[in-house]
Subunit: 235 residues, 2 copies
DNA sequence: GCGACGTATATTGTATAAAATATATATCGA
DNA sequence: TCGATATATATTTTATACAATATACGTCGC
């Protein structure tokens, strides 16, 4: 469940897969900004591989929605409108609440324990100063462990993708505002406690509010930012 | 909105895209059965292209869930368990009901007209004898036109993919039982009428029942079939 | 005969090279 | 000068060739 062959440094099974992960991380971390053209030979040269695995990585990311292909013109990093970002969160709320309702009756003690471990890691991170790079991953793991007992692999996969697509913008927000982090932390704690109590009704309500509050926070942040020139990285 | 450049025979913008469509159609139509290995050389030779566009088409289909890649071992046509098929329909019900609720208040006359056109095409098809090949496409178009006013592109894309994944099994059922078709036809008519009346409550209820009834019908059919050796294609 | 190892073959994964398409620049005519 | 067409350049798409990996088979030792 952790990172595959972590710390060994052994290279992945295929270049395509490794490139997919690396490119995804760069996009999510905004190292490559929205709308940017992705030149195949440039990437190939940078990674020291041919263009074939680069193309295959980009194709994979296109399936995830992170890049957009225009035939014969190439790939660009997908730029989402505020409406599209809103939709990500609305879908998250819809599907995740359903997952949680199915999962809670089947939650075992070890699920709760794992969730509390993740909460502890969150706190640790918070005290060490913002690590927005890992925040999204940790946030996903917490949600995923609560939904896992539902045994709904397709729904889980869809939700993971929704998280990923929203992650870019959440990281941006985390970089600039600390309040979001604290609020999420508090709601996560309550959510795990409600799950431990098997309180389906209240846990569902809280989860729904949690996701929609994150939505509104983020949209307000982005609306402000986009309205006024959005100057963060200069060139 | 119809088939792109139908009958012209003009090749698509790229080979990869054309191959993706062709392979998808073969898989959905069960020309290539579940679990079958897809050899890249074989496909390349058959279509008269190199393995590169074949690989890219397969990668695309993997993103859609129709094929599964095992590193260094190749692609196989994804085989779904009954539980996974159940999940497809449960997700459809969840997301489509939400879409319909958002769409109905924004439905315009021309949406309804278009829906009735599709219903007429259904009837025409029914009278000409079963054309299970087009059934899934038509079914999707009907649902899509009702959801379109919601302006939720991501949700629509997810639902289209769910339809596609279920389509293989629906076609199988349609080939062997006519009753499903008639039942769907009747429910579709009622659904469009309720939409025309802007009756969100009843339309939502009917849509939910419609999808879940299709689910139960199909699962019963497949359980029967899988239990008893599933002999249809001999070799 | 049985299991472990090594080789041969088939298939996938990647690199390089050629073809097709799009974009930019230049040339021509009015 | 302006617009349109033609040419050149950049980039993507596809083909061919090579390398890496997995599977099948056979050989050897016991």
């Amino acid at each position: 469940m952790k990172g595959p062959m972590a710390s060994t440094g052994l290279k992945r099974q295929t270049m395509s897969a490794a490139l997919t992960d690396e490119l995804r991380e760069r996009i999510l971390n905004l190292d490559i900004p929205e709308g940017e053209q992705l030149r195949q030979d440039t990437l190939a040269a940078e990674f020291g591989v041919s263009r074939i695995p680069v193309r295959e990585a980009l194709l994979q990311l296109e399936g995830e929605g992170l890049v957009t292909l225009s035939a014969h013109k190439g790939y660009t990093v997908t730029a989402l409108s505020l409406d599209e970002i809103r939709e990500l969160f609305d879908l998250r709320a819809l599907i995740e609440v359903d997952l949680l309702q199915r999962a809670i009756p089947r939650l075992e003690t070890h699920h709760i324990e794992r969730a509390r471990e993740i909460l502890a890691t969150f706190d640790e991170m918070l005290s060490r100063g913002s690590q927005e790079r890992d925040w999204g991953q940790l946030n996903w793991e917490l949600h995923a462990v609560l939904y896992e007992p539902a045994e709904r692999p397709r729904a889980l996969s869809i939700v993971r993708n929704l998280h990923r697509n929203a992650d870019r913008y959440l990281r941006l927000q985390l970089k600039l505002t600390q309040r979001t982090n604290e609020r999420a932390r508090e709601e996560h704690n309550r959510l795990v406690n409600l799950c431990a109590d098997r309180d389906v009704i209240e846990a569902s309500r809280l989860l729904n509010e949690h996701v929609l509050a994150a939505r509104d926070d983020l949209l307000a942040f982005l609306a402000e930012r986009r309205g006024s020139g959005e100057n963060t990285h200069e060139e």
